[in-house]
Symmetry: D2
Subunit: 387 residues, 4 copies
């Protein structure tokens, strides 16, 4: 019998990350895909993921507006609560055989609780990793609410098992974001100029036939007050390095306003004259832009995951990716602008671009679909510890 | 500097369980108690805990109505969501230095998330235990959201550590409910007749100067459809045993309606003629009634915890307490009415009443207050696993 | 083109009232019925309207749990808010061409606001009447939010016009509840014993082949604290009159707990020994029970509306129906138990049962469907006043 | 006895409008001010009213985050619902003797319903006016929920009476926004350069010692899709008129995104080179900027109210202010950019600046406080119509 798989997408990067899994679920004869788009994935100013999703040919079954404005810690909690309340109705309506929650954004726990409390088997993607901010708490709480775990890397697999989950419910599938990276790499050599020409953005034009770098910086929630200071340090470093730069806008999160403000002020003061800003890019386009770049700067997980597979150099700033497995492409630096600028300079002239397959081999999507079609879905569970 | 400790009470049994800790917090020179009463603790039909709390002399700082009517799985999730949204405002308003969430009822995760997402140190009471229903998921998710863990028994201590929490953040305090048990035991020999005379209840009068038994049965969430059938089997067993019986009403939970219906129907059909029903009793009174009884029947945790300390025999039915540490006072049985009835008969004539201190020695409250006054409260954490 | 008509049912009596309109909408070639069942209409303890709706052959498109437990004024407001938030999603999903809100229960304004704010034409049923409690405020606010008004009686028609609504948007259709009354009257002489035999209820059996009376009493919200006192006075009057009595349970409303308590206490004290209690009855059955009775006592609108058409005598207590048009069947009394008892006695021996068609002629349902199929639905409006 | 007056401020312009009333309430010996700041009044991107409120020396008793992101019709409804749910808790906590709701923004009905349903006397400011968009429905619904009405002008007074409200509950106080206008006018001649120098804004510097105009344009909700087109026409007109221009940013409302987009695109295309943008200005500063200008263009109510008192010329565009009383300072135009540009040119050279006191004489604040201190506050009401 066909299993109805309900996936809740709450942000643009989450969608990018699971897109190939969605395709594999949709195309699997024993699975039926139900797609719920919620939270910042509905909002233009966070990349309007829903439009990308629909233009990619997916049917959206339900939408749930749930982000309470304010971009602070109070509204993070409130948004999660309202989302939970409404996702319950959605699940009651769609009656899925399982629900998939993705990774560790704060609002993902709304999906997890709604499913768990309604006795719907919960599948958690990308558990078992470590980072160290509020994501850390959300991610492991998701693991404890979930019945089936699809993990991306060896260390995650081990951690989920240590967390007391049954070994037969943990599957090392790799990360579906790497599937896209594989597609990007296998595609014909990209015309980067044509790609960036399709996106408006803000700021001066950048000649991407010449070397350039990419910046992607997210606010770090538990260092909320410092998000503006960190953004300013990064801006200074980018100014000092003085490279042609494509800067991608952060997602909704408590503190993102600090980053936005720092950028706005910098631009008003005539800084960042070699930087073009984008709010959004289709995942494949973004990957091609990365492949064509000298490297990525910031604190995005893309630097550790896709870029490891692709061999794109990365300057990883600060604590946001702390504890995550990383390949040879990553150089870690602190928040100081001098350190960041120096790392950018070194990255600029790298000749070696070694690839590491720690987050997957590029076939995670179909592996995930296969697990979902066959895994035992009982919802009773207990800690595996014994002594 | 005084630390503001915000405790969220969401149900009558939770209050009973932590009452001595609340007293110790209130009376501690370095602590200030903030009391939030929410969910079923506000509702008359679940025991009106708020009235007990106020009559015990506590000041209630905020109330949060959050239970959505329906008593099903959908409304459990919705209630949790609305509670979370509003607790965020409460914490924003009260600005506590730490928040305490208690045990594992479904709505307790609302407290946990609101605190964790607002960067308020979260203290979890009674983590690390195992049971096997939805409580299991909620409890361990609470652990993963919490920064400080106050556990009741050795095995819980060990499990929280295995879950990757830092050893220096886990404190074995014992359960404050045992403090009350100690008080009940140390009190003058109780006049049970006078006690029960203070509560109206429903059903025929029971002469408690003669032997009697106590029943306390909660619905088991993940066996939602079966809650009525289980209640009916228990009713049959109580009928067959034919003892004078004091039956205490279940709390709000998905499925409690099944239990209520079974009881209503049974009474309409003239059953349970030797059973008197109570919705609520002050904790100390309830403990004295237990001490004076031949034993307790049902699936309440009281049977394992307080009754171990008190040496009150217990017939524990089904899976709800599965995996929890138990003393020599407990006999486990399945859901069959014959088995239950037979166990009641055996309990009726027990001469030995051994006591076990596995859930505490009766001084947990003051120990908890001391930990709260002195513990490191940083909110950054990562899994302790290393290899 | 077919018009999608979304009707939101929030309570058992609202459903009964519009049932024939729902049938007419469903059967109209130019209309498509969308049915949303919400609030107390989903709850067993308020009559489980949803089961009746489904057993009547209607398809329910969405359900919205929205009642926050507590049955007080705070939770009335909260329930309305949560309902509004979720109905917005429902309308966004169903994309109706118009939304119908019914009468004046507190939660009906949630439907009105969701529709009005989403630019969906709002049709209000049963506006323009006057009563004098919180219903009064809700009803006229509904009128001000609505674009089309379907009213039940001449005076209501006049009042909606005086409220500044455009005359061409106000339609005197009569009340569809009268359609049912017509059907009940036109049916073969009913076997009342067979009817009541189909409902369990609580209390002693009543021989309905002999004369009996019906009681239906709702709490009056703005006299919240007095609802228990009023219920007690009515109980005393029923005791004093000492007639065989069928008592129908009130709906969810702030204060209903007072009524419930009064009844429970009365029964525990051995009162009301000739009274049988029902929580719910299918509308047609209830009407036949009314037709077969000596009259109805209480404060229900049924006494004024259906009973006017049917010629069933009514003792109307207190202020709840204040200002509403009434026929010759109604005797108004205050809250005193002596007055009520005396009025019951007089009603008991009435020989004349005059009928009045002030609330409709029994063909409102099809008239409503016709209006919905043809009315102008523009949503721009302004007060009609000019000077 | 002191009356506790709870005022709910949900937007920057609402605050500006009632500021002098807040002062008069705070300073009145028989009144105690309770201030709740909610909705867009908490959000930086809509002017951060809360900071202005606090810097004006008011104590904020509660804050309520309630705006759901999305800026569309669905989220308007959802925001209102969540606000209502939480305001109920706030009122339950603050226990005011009356609640004040202001004017007609969509979210103001949340305040009205919470108060009305909790039996707290509701005072409505600025009812009885006519405009013609969704505000129209909200405003009159607020009137029907309110117990006391404080109106700004003769025609409003008359309309509230025609709406069936009791004459003795309607008070013509004038609009407190005019009090500020009086203060601005009575102040020493303002140094406009110094004023605008205190606000950053975006865009080229404007020399305000030379003639300039002011633009303030809000999206019109029921013409949601057209908000961008209307903004573009206005931009073209401003371009064509080619005057030094100070443009004030719109508030949160479904559709405001359309306006924002039009402005962003225009600026990216090098338009509006003589326009400086402000998100916010302290009310008194804004009024002085108006006094110093050649006139105001847009659809703000400021143009009709304060500017009538001040004699500042106004070009009022489109339907948003339709039906509102206006003085000799206002010229109405349609949405065409040519018409708007022509009207701006005519305004630029006006020599006469007649003043009209239709919205008040500048002493509304103290009059309002006096009414609140003395008015009958009973909450029972019925339509006044009789025939």
């Amino acid at each position: 019998m066909t299993r109805k798989v309900c996936v809740v997408i709450t942000a643009r990067p989450s969608y990018s990350r699971v897109r190939t899994a969605l395709e594999a679920i949709r195309d699997h004869p024993d699975l039926e895909l139900q797609l719920v788009v919620a939270a910042s994935a509905l909002l233009d100013r966070y990349g309007g993921a829903i439009k990308v999703i629909e233009s990619d040919g997916f049917k959206v079954d339900r939408t749930v507006y749930m982000i309470v404005e304010g971009e602070n810690l109070v509204t993070s909690a409130k948004s999660t609560g309202f989302g939970l309340a409404e996702l319950a109705t959605v699940f009651d309506d769609l009656k899925p055989d399982m629900v998939i929650t993705i990774a560790d954004r704060y609002e993902t726990i709304a999906t997890s609780i709604a499913a768990a409390y309604m006795n719907i088997p919960l599948v958690h993607l990308q558990g078992g990793e470590v980072t160290g901010s509020i994501d850390e708490k959300t991610r492991h709480a998701n693991t404890k609410l979930a019945d089936v775990h699809l993990v991306c890397c060896e260390s995650a697999h081990k951690r989920v098992q240590l967390l007391g989950e049954r070994p037969e419910r943990i599957f090392l599938t790799g990360c579906p974001s790497i599937d896209l990276a594989r597609q990007a790499l296998e595609a014909d050599p990209a015309d980067i100029s044509a790609i960036v020409g399709r996106y408006a953005g803000v700021g001066p034009g950048i000649d991407v036939t010449q070397p350039y770098v990419v910046v992607m910086q997210h606010p770090v929630t538990t260092e909320h007050d410092q998000s503006r200071a960190q953004a300013e340090a990064l801006i200074d470093a980018v100014e000092a390095a003085d490279k042609p730069t494509l800067w991608f806008w952060p997602n909704v999160d408590a503190g993102s306003d600090g980053t936005s403000k720092a950028l706005r002020v910098a631009r008003e003061h005539g800084k960042l004259r070699r930087t073009h800003f984008y709010r959004n890019m289709q995942p494949l386009d973004f990957l091609k832009v990365l492949i064509g770049s000298r490297g990525i700067i910031g604190n995005s997980s893309v630097a550790l995951r896709e870029c490891a597979y692709l061999g794109v150099p990365a300057v990883n700033i600060g604590t946001r990716q702390q504890g995550r497995d990383r390949g040879r492409n990553v150089v870690d630096v602190g928040y100081g602008s001098d350190d960041i600028a120096a790392a950018i300079e070194r990255m600029w002239t790298l000749s070696e671009r070694p690839r590491d397959f720690i987050y997957g081999d590029g076939f995670a999507g179909r592996r995930i679909a296969e697990v979902l079609a066959t895994a035992d879905l009982s919802i009773e569970k207990m800690l595996t510890y014994s002594w």
